[in-house]
Point group: C2
Chain length 344, copies 2
DNA sequence: ATAGATATCTAGATCGATCTAAAGGCTGAA
DNA sequence: TTCAGCCTTTAGATCGATCTAGATATCTAT
């Protein structure tokens, strides 16, 4: 048995209460300046008295602007994305836009479903971190889509906000080399991820720059999770000669690696050096040396790109690549005594 | 210069293309069975050919159902909430509902803004984890609100899905006592948070049950973050006699505490026992003994409560309290040698 | 006094779907 | 033949706002 709720208070109710027309009430609601102060006041009083609630849905139907932005990420539980989400939501919120969230769990079918659902909404635009492998296959060919901006991972044919990953891991390698490390591993990060490829190539470039030989066993591929980092470091330690430092695909992987180190009685920074990637909030608390990719800034940049694209759909494609920055904390340190040195 | 986009394909276009009326097309879209198979097929063909995109906004205006649910959390970057969000989003998504996300950062003003914005949308219902202190002051008195369900933290006058926190920390204490611990700290968790109060009272109840004296310095209040856990444990270790184990407000606090332990050369499970709360994904990877509050299940429960409330707004208030479960991993262990024992 | 400019307000169409109530066609029973 | 009953389809009103184009009143300058 559905309890019948009281009928909605509409513009018409306000209008007749305030003795003006619907149109005038609408002008007041939208803060259009052409309304006489006295009228505005009268209308606002009626709005308060009758407890009027604005109906965005009705407004958007007519104005063709929903003031909703779709946000599709591949994994909310990844703190890097969580920080981006917060930043985007704040940024858009202060621009009067609502964020509709979707999580793909790296599932392409789910991504297509979300794109569709948000287009139907219809969202005024969509921010997306494409699932692994959808960078090329990308957009569904179905119906028309609203303006789209990709972040963190590029996508064919749309604007993009990302990080200079190559430079990032190059910085990491240089830092480690400066501390005396020579055998440096690169761990975590599925090879099919563009960002992993870029970070890997920066890692290689860093090695080359210092005439260090790249050895393929030092690249330990794993899931970009805490668990992945854990297992990756354990494999790395079994190599002979073992590496003395590692550049991690991201901070979460780095924490997993630190977990593994400690499980074997090694102290990060002293017995083995670890560099993370992203500089999530926990990185500071965990004293992790890392490459700061300023997730919040990235989110805001992507949001700005989208707002511009919405404003001017015809403008040429844009890419904004943010520069990363090394943040030195306690998980890296001078190479002490390299037990493998004598073996070589 | 706004590039004028091609005009939208509407029901009317499909109707004239397929040689039927708008109403019939609508019936096809909504899978109403009364449409003749041949007609349905013809309409679907037109829909595909013209690349029609359904307009939910228009539909909801008329049907008075937006198929959107507002989800307000206090901190997305907290993995506990992130897991809940994913679960809710999945659950509602499979019921054909879209999730609109909002993050309050424990800010009451922002919570009010979000409640308002979602009411205006209008969302069909709202799931909320109230900010600290809004449990009583709660709902804005402004306009009408859609059905609301609170989770994790109760809120006056609305349905609630939560955890039996008292039993949870009681389980934790019993586990530690069983391992021989006598001086057990309770760390993290702001005292004004209902869940912290409940967990604290379960802690005390656990102590009483085993005739262990409660000493107030063993309750170390801190922010419920990794950093909070870190600092809390350091303070706890400075007590004399120092505790040998700690029940943490949540898993993140526990990780911070472990961080602190290791920074002082102590190994969790061997030199000091730590119990977390919630059993987030990282707890497994980090071998953390914890109280499993099944965040995903909690999210789904809350979502179900909301769906029922929407279906039947007049039904009596409901509360669902899930029972927690102890998960033993490696961060707890038998009390070895208690260096303080002799001092007493 | 009159035309023109300015400020303020409004009627009515409109956005794109759903809903209601009923129409048309067909079947089988009386 | 006629009519009730079923199946399928539809015209037109409707949801609650915005937009357009113009009306009305007030003021200024000549």
């Amino acid at each position: 048995m559905l309890a019948s709720s009281p009928p909605r208070v509409t513009l018409l109710d306000i209008a007749s209460d305030a003795g003006v027309s619907r149109a005038t009430v609408s002008l007041v609601l939208r803060n259009v300046p052409s309304v006489a102060p006295a009228t505005r006041k009268r209308v606002l009083q009626s709005i308060n008295r009758l407890r009027y609630v604005y109906h965005r849905g009705a407004a958007s139907l007519r104005s063709q602007r929903s003031h909703a932005i779709g946000l599709i990420v591949s994994d909310i539980t990844n703190p890097f994305f969580a920080e981006i989400i917060v930043a985007i939501e704040d940024w858009l919120g202060s621009a009067g836009l609502v964020t509709i969230l979707g999580n793909t769990s790296e599932n392409l079918a789910k991504q297509q479903r979300l794109l569709r659902s948000m287009s139907e909404y219809p969202a005024d635009g969509i921010l997306i971190c494409p699932t692994q492998g959808s960078e090329k296959t990308g957009l569904p060919t179905g119906g028309r889509l609203p303006p789209i901006v990709a972040f963190t991972r590029p996508m064919d044919g749309v604007d993009y906000a990302g990080t200079d990953n190559v430079t990032g891991s190059e910085l990491a390698v240089e830092h480690l080399v400066g501390l005396g490390h020579r055998r440096i591993a690169f761990i975590g990060g599925p090879a099919q991820l563009t960002s992993a490829q870029q970070r890997f190539s920066g890692y290689r470039r860093g090695l080359e720059k210092h005439a260090l030989e790249y050895r393929k066993e030092l690249f330990v591929e794993q899931l970009p999770t805490r668990q992945g980092g854990y297992h990756a470091l354990i494999s790395a330690l079994q190599l002979s000669p073992a590496p003395t430092a590692a550049v991690c695909f991201n901070d979460v992987v780095a924490f997993g690696a630190i977990e593994a180190l400690r499980g074997r009685g090694k102290e990060p920074g002293r017995d083995f050096s670890i560099v993370g990637f992203n500089n999530i909030a926990d990185a500071r608390a965990g004293s992790l040396t890392t490459i700061d990719t300023s997730p919040a800034k990235l989110g805001e940049t992507a949001a700005d790109l989208l707002l511009n694209r919405i404003r001017d759909p015809g403008s040429p494609l844009r890419q904004v690549i943010l520069s990363p920055r090394l943040v030195v904390r306690e998980s890296t340190g001078k190479l002490q005594h390299d037990s493998n040195e004598s073996n070589q």
